[in-house]
Amino acid sequence: MTDAPCIFSDAPPGLPLSASPWRRTWRKLRRSPAAIVCAAVIAVYVAAAVFTSMAIEPNWGTSQDYARANLPPSTDQPFGADAFGRSVLAKTLLAAKVSLTVGLVTNVIAIPLGLLLGAAAGYFGRWIDAVVMWLVATLAAVPGIVRVIALKFAFTDTVLFGGTVFQINLGGMAGVCLALAMTFWIGTCRLVRAEALKIRQSDYVLAARASGRSGIGILFTHVLPNVMHIALVNFSLGFVAAVMAEVILSYLGIGVAVGTPSWGSMINAARSDLIVGRWWELTAAVAALSVLVLAINVLGDRIRDALDAKASAP
């Protein structure tokens, strides 16, 4: 009365049987040198963001000293100083905090929102799908950057409602994060909805219904766990997009509050500097941004590869 043990498995050789899909992904990721290098680079950024603002000196990047104004890079000021005599190195490091925070907070709001709405729309269909897709279509009809700018302004506004003046002031980082999150959930939502439509037709969902599980129960036990890989990949994509969007907004002057170091405002400040040969502020900001974006992109790519069971068959 025994079945032969299963000797054919899609687990790569060397991996023990019965590893959870997440654990397998993690193991494959650990074997990829590129993924490790990128993770290390991101860790350096995180450390820079945390330690420069906490441990070293809070005002390091913002304290002005006109005696040092526009100093080129030297041993004293490795990245030089800006027009107000602030250390460009300090500004670059402190701006990492802004970028990472915006990337993280935006996606912590956007991904769960997109996951939940997308899965509910795809699985339940009917009016839930209609409402969610209407919302998606309406928001998606406005070009991305215009949408973010409009939302950003909406979050820093004085509204007259019922004779009362409401001061909505989510200026600075909170406003940037919210405006971006309100935009970014759309992509996740659409992908998750498509996947949920597929899962809804699956035999295991039918089996779960036949065993008496409720719709909400199936959503949480079967649909959401099966779309989590989308969330993970979208998190890395969304992180990069949010970091870059913050830079663009700050460059346009509607990003983080004036005085908060940001790569976007650094690039903006360097606009007029470049003609007179002051290249260091622009270079520092662009280099810091490029390396971070590259690291997250490559890591995200490796995560996607590691998650894809078909591509990694031995």
Partner: protein
């Protein structure tokens, strides 16, 4: 209560699917009863409406399908009158279901054990640890070797037979009165088919459970079932005790089916085939649905105009053929199974 009391009584069930070529009755005027402690087999070709019938019983039809008429009584309660919420408490707890494809009916990203535990905790108020014990025990009872190891494995790591046992364990987690098995052995190899079938045949005698076994495999049914119903083009053609059906098939369709599985002689060992193909359910032929393929209908114009219904033709033997000896169209369908 009688040990073999009537568990499920289906009367005049009609399930309609909306198709591109109009509404199609995948199940039409189907009536039968299933008893506790007995195995009721439903046999028919692919596409004759067997699975539609099974899904109708659980009210899990896809969006395009709906039950248009009839009555499904489980322990005297009409399931078609229940709200969706009440129906949920019937699924799994009163009626368990085992599906055809063990490869896809399990969620690939969770261990088998976790899926059994979830099914157990859905129906029994037990803690996680106790549920795990019950799950391992039930796997062991279903003849699974090293149940604790299988418990930790993922569906793709198990063979088809083991997966089907996991699914049966899940279907039994709610201790249902009735188990519907929709082609549970179709995706399995012959040796494994036999073991799974043995498990299913043991359930009625051991647990007093009623089992409705849906299959296209007559040979499989011959030894396992207590009662066999033959389905064709959405309708039941014949219901009889297994022995009576195989010894004295009354309906020409049943006879033709049996000819397909047993070669006439050893010297002429070709398998017979039924000429023609099953009708389009959106526009079934008038009269008897089998008449275009029936060897007897050519000489009987009545077959082309009169639509026969299941009628008692012998003790415990119903047939829907006008030419059946003892068939009387004027009599109503009698439901009592036990004489």
């Amino acid at each position: 209560m009688n040990r073999h009391h009537t568990l499920l009584r289906v009367t005049g069930l009609r399930t309609v699917f909306l198709t591109a070529s109009g509404p199609a009755a995948a199940v039409d005027s189907v009536s039968f009863t299933a008893q506790a402690g007995r195995l009721f087999a439903l046999v028919g070709e692919s596409g004759c409406g067997k699975s539609a019938l099974a899904l109708s019983l659980l009210r899990l039809l896809p969006d395009a399908g709906r039950v248009a008429a009839g009555c499904i009584e489980l322990n005297g309660r009409n399931l078609l009158d229940l709200t969706e919420r009440q129906m949920r408490s019937v699924r799994g707890r009163r009626i368990g279901m085992v599906f055809q494809e063990p490869a896809t009916a399990l969620n690939p990203i969770f261990t088998c054990g976790r899926q059994i535990v979830e099914a157990i905790r859905l129906h029994q108020s037990v803690g996680a640890r106790r549920a795990k014990e019950i799950a391992v025990q039930s796997l062991a009872r279903l003849g699974v070797d090293e149940p604790a190891k299988r418990f930790r494995q993922y569906p793709h790591e198990l063979s088809g037979g083991l997966r089907q046992r996991v699914l049966i364990a899940m279907a039994l987690a709610g201790q249902p009165d009735l188990l519907i098995a929709d082609e549970p052995t179709t995706a399995l190899d012959t040796a494994t088919q036999q073991r799974i079938l043995d498990l299913l045949t043991n359930l009625p005698s051991r647990a007093g459970m009623g089992v409705v076994l849906i299959t296209h495999d007559l040979a499989l049914v011959a030894r396992a079932a207590d009662t066999v119903a033959v389905m064709y083009a959405g309708e039941l053609m014949e219901i009889a005790d297994t022995r009576a059906l195989f010894a004295y098939p009354m309906h020409p369709y049943t006879q033709a089916l049996l000819d397909c599985v047993r070669p006439v002689t050893h010297t002429d060992a070709r398998f017979a085939a039924i000429p023609g193909c099953p009708p389009d359910l959106a526009s079934p032929p008038p009269g008897c649905r089998f008449h275009p393929r029936c060897p007897l209908a050519a000489d009987n114009p009545l077959c082309r105009s009169v639509h026969p219904q299941l009628r008692l033709v012998a003790q415990g033997h119903w047939s829907a053929c006008l030419l059946c000896p003892g068939y009387d169209h004027t009599l109503p369908y009698q439901q009592t199974h036990d004489p």
